[in-house]
Symmetry: C2
């Protein structure tokens, strides 16, 4: 797993979980005090987030932190 793959995977995972809950990007961003512009970049794997950012995302989506970063191999 390369860094690039990881970031892409995390972004996709966040997007999936968010859509499962019918939540728009903007709403998620607001819940964690995160800029919607950065939310877009996060979901497309173009930022390397701090672990605290992932924690906030997990809490806003009501999932465990590990659910955002647990991938095959």
């Amino acid at each position: 797993m390369t860094e690039e793959e990881l970031l892409k995977n995390i972004g996709q995972r966040i997007k999936e979980l968010r859509k499962q809950q019918g939540m728009p990007q903007i709403e998620l961003a607001v819940e964690l005090n995160y800029e919607k512009s950065n939310m877009s970049r996060l979901e497309s794997g173009r930022v390397n987030p701090r672990v605290s950012t992932l924690l906030k995302v997990a809490q806003a989506l009501n999932v465990e932190l590990k659910d955002l970063i647990d991938f095959k191999s």
Copy 2:
């Protein structure tokens, strides 16, 4: 789980895993091209690492990324 708790837990987990393998901090730091000074701060929970940093740590310790951030509640 607050951000502060998370960072402390991650640091402790890394330290545990590293010691289990009898690996000095310096060696771990070198393996991931990370400064030993920052390694010390990471293990004591005084930095909020990027997810790529945790990936490199996990790979150097031969564990899964989720093993570094999976805590109760």
